[in-house]
């Protein structure tokens, strides 16, 4: 497209008061770009002014220097135009008051001693915006040749059935795949369910039968029992799924990636690509490669993974101190539920009535008060429910619950309250230390209870509140024909649950188009699972409809760009395939990546990873960012006696950039010598930009991104962590240039920590000032 530029500067919101507008206008004018100012650009008149230029003069590339791009984005949206927003408000005038950054007096102008830091900041940002728009293009959507709108639901339990119903009600075709011979899953094996309606005090009969019946009434739902997924290939909107019977071996069984240790020869040297591929083929003999699509496979647009859980199975003498394994009357909550479903509760040892039952919520015997593995509020609630069974079965029955945590979220607090009222139910916090045989029954001993330091109670049965293990712990289930492997990547944080961030992005897994619901995501009750299923079904629909429009699903919803590879220069290093947090790339046998844009979340991690710098987006690429870096004015001693320092900050646009805006909104001020460049994620940070900056004579560079580690906040899971690793490597490069490593740093910030930013920035500026100016300055 032929670009016709137009620069529009707003003088409202204090911009015109703080800055020398005439000088600012000279910046684009010198480059021959038309520039207009307006005191209220986002107002009707201001927008009309822009629209008129677009209509009359054919302006199609706009640089709008006004407020942050995070506000008024709908106002400054013009179809068919490239728009860049230069943030003069939040990150220039609001965060750099004239009281601290004074304007020059007439005498001070051009005296080679004084300079106006604020004016320099504004002019640099304007230059950067102009440089950027020169290098970017309008995106065109990625459209699939064929699009399937069908939804595959894996798992025919209460979650899967609920998800299928919700999706079907919304008008989508659904196929439910169940590995057992009938639907229903665990929900069919219980005596009663937790309360699901006001007053939330009474147990209810299982609802599963009614759900199954409801399902049968929909002719847009197909149920396939006795089936599992052998492989799922392709991308959202165009998944090709091969089903098989459990236990069957077929050529479309998904191949596994070569284990790490097999990539090396006996001497420990890494094998070359061909040799590795050979081994990979041997390792997966009888299975077709992932790029081989099953011609008989069924097409789906998106997947709801509701494969559920299995009861935790204690290993060996894990709970020997609680008598498990040794005393037959010590059982898990799952075993207890099975007994309760059959009839009155009796002791497994002799069939006598179990009238005194102790429920143990935490295994104890450790340094912490943790509950059993894979527990949650559901185990608290199940214990309460099962205590109620004891009371239902026997008028003089007694149920004791020893807990470290009693979790009864939401309205289920009412259930807890009602059980408290039961005169035969006894609750106390406490650490159960032992269960021992005592004549006919057992004695349970607990420490640090609410009743005193130590108590003992007599028990006919003891029930351990063991957890719900997501089936993805044992098996990939989803069996994706993805180069990164058939399962969700284990990033060491989720204990086998398939999730990518519980709090911020429920239902999202690490694979686009596959949405988890129910107990595979976290331990949850049936009532919660039913609700969860709705969420996942809606996500699946959102995915299909986004793919249909050729835009990103999440978290950059609606983004039309996608990574473009300049394959002629690819060296098959596989770094992009390996590092993509979402497994979007499948390389071929040579190692050339095959992009699957619909799987992509547009974070740009591939772009940050590529040493050849051949990956880019229409509006965000190596050149567009590099040009912004180069557009920053770096004054040297030729310009001023003591030139100001120049530092570039690459800022994650998800959390760090908004935090900077909020700092501005709160009028928190910080150094005016730093230039910020927003990037999609720190994972998209290519080290060449830092080299560019330092080569140009800038004195330092830093990255501002999300927290990583256990409580990571990265929208793309690993972006800030990956960039941290990359930054460690840059240290060597810097020292070879005789530059101090300290000139480059990475900081973590949460979106609500805006108040910490000024200190963070100023401390770094101070540190760089202490190091002195970049010796390459002025070359």
């Amino acid at each position: 497209m032929d670009k016709k530029y137009g620069v529009y500067i707003c003088t409202g919101c204090g911009i015109g008061d703080a800055l020398e507008m005439e000088e600012l206008c000279e910046v684009p004018e010198e480059e021959g770009l038309p520039v207009k100012t307006h005191p209220f650009l986002c107002g009707k008149e201001g927008v009309e002014l822009i629209k008129k230029d677009i209509a009359d003069d054919g302006v199609n590339t706009l640089i709008i220097a006004a407020c942050s791009r995070r506000v008024n984005y709908d106002v400054f949206k013009f179809d068919g135009c490239i728009v860049d927003r230069v943030n003069l408000r939040e990150q220039v005038v609001w965060s750099h008051p004239r009281s601290e950054f004074p304007a020059l007096t007439e005498e001070q102008k051009d005296d080679e001693e004084h300079f106006d830091r604020l004016q320099m900041l504004a002019e640099d940002y304007l230059k950067m915006g102009m440089a950027k728009v020169e290098k970017i293009d309008l995106p065109e959507p990625y459209k699939l040749e064929t699009l399937s709108k069908k939804i595959l639901v894996i798992g025919g339990g209460i979650t899967g059935i609920s998800a299928a119903l919700d999706a079907a009600k919304a008008g989508y075709e659904v196929t439910v795949v169940e590995k057992e011979s009938s639907l229903g899953g665990y929900a069919t094996k219980i005596r009663k369910q937790l309360p699901n309606e006001d007053p939330y005090e009474n147990l209810v009969p299982p609802v599963i039968e009614a759900k199954i019946k409801e399902l049968e009434a929909y002719d847009n739902i197909i149920v396939k029992t006795d089936k599992i997924v052998a492989r799922l290939a392709g991308e959202p909107g165009d998944f090709t799924v091969t089903l098989k019977k459990p236990g069957e071996k077929i050529e479309y069984d998904v191949p596994y990636p070569l284990p790490e240790e097999m990539k090396f020869d006996e001497s420990g040297k890494e094998l070359d690509v061909e040799e590795q591929h050979k081994r990979y083929l041997e390792y997966n003999e009888g299975k077709l490669d992932i790029l081989q699509f099953d011609p008989d496979g069924e097409k789906f647009g998106a997947v709801v993974l509701a494969a559920g859980w299995r009861p935790y199975e204690p290993e060996g003498d894990e709970f020997a101190h609680l008598g498990f394994g040794e005393l037959p009357d010590v059982v898990t909550n799952h075993q207890f539920e099975e007994m309760a479903a059959k009839g009155n509760i009796t002791r497994p040892s002799d069939g006598k009535e179990a009238k005194s039952v102790v429920f143990v919520q935490s295994p104890g015997k450790g340094d912490d008060d943790a509950d059993f593995d894979y527990c949650g509020s559901v185990t608290s609630l199940v214990s309460l429910k099962q205590a109620k069974y004891v009371r239902e079965d026997y008028d003089d029955g007694k149920a004791y619950i020893f807990y470290q945590h009693m979790r009864t979220p939401g309205l289920l607090e009412n259930f807890y309250k009602s059980l408290q009222q039961d005169e035969g139910i006894f609750l106390t916090k406490g650490e159960v230390v032992s269960v021992s045989k005592n004549g006919d029954g057992m004695i349970v001993e607990a420490d640090n209870t609410l009743l005193g330091e130590k108590v003992k109670v007599q028990a006919d049965m003891v029930v351990l509140a063991t957890g719900m293990v997501p089936v993805t712990v044992d098996d990939p289930v989803i069996n994706m024909a993805y180069r990164q492997g058939p399962a969700f990547r284990d990033i060491g944080l989720f204990d086998g649950y398939c999730d990518s961030n519980y709090i911020c992005f429920p239902y999202e897994t690490q694979r686009t188009g596959i949405y988890a619901a129910g107990a595979i995501r976290r331990s949850m009750t049936m009532e919660e699972s039913i609700e969860d299923a709705t969420g996942a079904a809606l996500k699946a629909i959102q995915c299909i409809e986004s793919v249909n429009r050729g835009v990103s699903v999440h978290p950059r919803s609606g983004d039309m760009t996608f990574p473009d590879f300049f394959f002629q220069r690819c060296t098959q290093c596989k770094r992009c395939t390996d590092e993509c947090p979402f497994g979007a790339l499948d390389d071929d046998e040579k190692g050339t990546p095959k992009p699957n844009p619909a799987r992509c979340r547009r974070c740009g991690t591939c772009m940050g990873a590529c040493p050849e710098r051949i990956v880019g987006f229409a509006d965000f690429n190596i050149d567009s960012v590099g040009s912004q870096v180069k557009a920053v004015g770096v004054p040297s001693e030729d310009d001023y006696d003591e030139p100001p320092f120049r530092i570039v900050g690459f800022v994650c646009e998800n959390d760090a950039y908004p935090a900077l805006d909020i700092a501005g909104l709160n009028r928190l001020s910080y150094s005016a010598d730093v230039r910020f460049i927003p990037i999609r994620c720190l994972g998209s940070m290519n080290v060449i930009w830092i080299k560019d900056a330092l080569a140009k004579g800038m004195d330092g560079a830093f990255l501002l991104g999300c927290k990583h580690g256990d409580d990571y906040q990265c929208h793309f899971i690993k972006g800030s962590e990956l960039s941290d690793i990359r930054m460690q490597k840059i240290g060597d490069a810097l020292s070879s240039l005789a530059l101090e490593e300290e000139r480059v740093a990475q900081f973590q910030v949460a979106i609500d920590e805006y108040d910490k930013l000024p200190k963070m920035i100023n401390d770094f500026v101070e540190l760089v000032e202490e190091l002195g100016p970049n010796p390459f300055k002025g070359f």
């Binding site: 309250k417 408290q420 009222q421 106390t428 609410l450 009743l451």
Partner: protein
């Protein structure tokens, strides 16, 4: 098997406490707000948090012989601040009635005092005794003559003393028996729960401690620390001092009668008469205030045991004063029969003292003395 850690919940005990006005006890979720807000709870092993869980678990042994239930003055601060509406103050009140019934024999009488069903019997007992004994001895004269109205003409002083002196002995005996067990129990419980480090019970020390707490009781120091029910302390103080006043008056006139051989009615100018009249008025005001407080505090439960005692207190004051007024007004018939009712009330208050809520005057005093003695912080 005697394992001090082994606990066996007693569901019947829970039901009884519920019936005695502790119906909210199971609502407690052990946040301990009650122990924190209680102005009079000690720092070591504070109450009533632990009493609440013991009650909901039906652990009778931990409650009946627990001195802390008596240290509680039922301010109601805990009840007001309880986030769950578990009303710890009311629960402890119910536990106290249960404890009173446990220590007083015969147990049947305890049951009668705590149940409205048996109120007619409680009133019939003195009536029957008065009439039968009065007719046998001829000391009850239904047609007293003469110009001057004197209660003794109708219901002879000899008859009064013939009934009430043995009754006093009986009450003391019952209390003595109960107290023996009570002191042993609270000591054992204090040792078990670590409230005291004094292994052996030393009675001399206990009595010295008793003397030390008497000023506290007289000044209602503990009661006045309550914030929620400040008015209750005033009413209690009125009733408390009127009883002391009336006790002194009774003794003075006892000396008059048996030592100085002076017979009543005594002159209104007599100092003891002043005391008697002031006490009588205070009793009526105090009793009325107590009832008023109960009625206006809708968030607090008032059980039958409370109404029984309050009714007696107010009835006692009213009939007493009415007897005097009608006597001076020359209304012979009315004054004699009011006097009769008055004596029925006195009998109830007196004879059933070890069984009614009023027994707290003994148990709480002993518990406070023991707590002082125990050296607990």
């Amino acid at each position: 098997m005697t394992d001090k850690y082994l606990i066996e919940p007693d569901v019947n005990f829970v039901r009884e406490i519920v019936g005695l006005g502790g119906d909210t006890l199971k609502k407690c979720f052990q946040c301990a707000t009650c122990s924190v807000v209680c102005p009079i709870s000690p720092d070591t092993k504070p109450f009533p948090r632990k009493e609440m869980i013991a009650a909901s678990w039906g652990l009778k042994d931990r409650l009946v012989g627990n001195l802390d239930i008596w240290l509680c003055h039922h301010c109601g601060d805990c009840t007001t601040n309880c986030p769950r509406g578990a009303k710890p103050g009311e629960v402890l009140g119910a536990v106290r009635s249960y404890a009173i019934a446990t220590y007083a024999v015969p147990k049947t009488l305890g049951k009668w005092v705590n149940s409205p069903k048996f109120l007619p019997i409680l009133l019939l007992i003195p009536t029957a005794i008065f009439i039968v004994l009065g007719l046998i001895t001829g000391l009850l004269d239904f047609t007293p003559g003469g110009e001057e109205i004197a209660q003794t003409k109708f219901f002879s002083t000899w008859l009064v003393d013939m009934i009430f002196i043995p009754l006093a002995v009986w009450v003391v005996a019952i209390f003595a028996m109960g107290l023996k067990n009570f002191i042993n129990d609270i000591h054992e419980n204090a040792l078990l729960e670590g409230k005291t480090d004094k292994k052996e019970l030393d009675f001399v020390g206990l009595i010295k401690a008793l003397i030390r707490v008497i000023p506290t009781i007289l000044k209602h120091d503990k009661f006045s620390e309550c914030t929620e029910n400040k008015d209750r302390a005033t009413a209690h103080l009125l009733v408390f001092y009127s009883f002391i006043g009336l006790f002194i008056v009774t003794n003075i006139f006892f000396i008059h009668l048996y030592i100085l051989q002076w017979h009543g009615p005594y002159s209104q100018l007599h100092p003891a008469k002043w005391l008697a009249n002031i006490s009588g008025v205070a009793l009526i005001i105090g009793g009325a205030l107590m009832i008023w407080n109960r009625l206006s505090k809708t968030d607090q439960t008032t059980a039958y045991k409370d109404w029984y005692l309050l009714g007696l207190v107010l009835g006692l004051g009213l009939t007493g004063m009415l007897t005097e007024i009608t006597r001076m007004a020359g209304l012979a018939g009315i004054t004699y029969w009011t006097y009769f009712i008055h004596l029925v009330f006195v009998f109830n208050l007196f004879a059933f003292l070890p069984f009614s809520k009023l027994a707290h005057l003994v148990y709480r005093t002993v518990a406070m003395a023991y707590n002082e003695y125990s050296g607990r912080q």
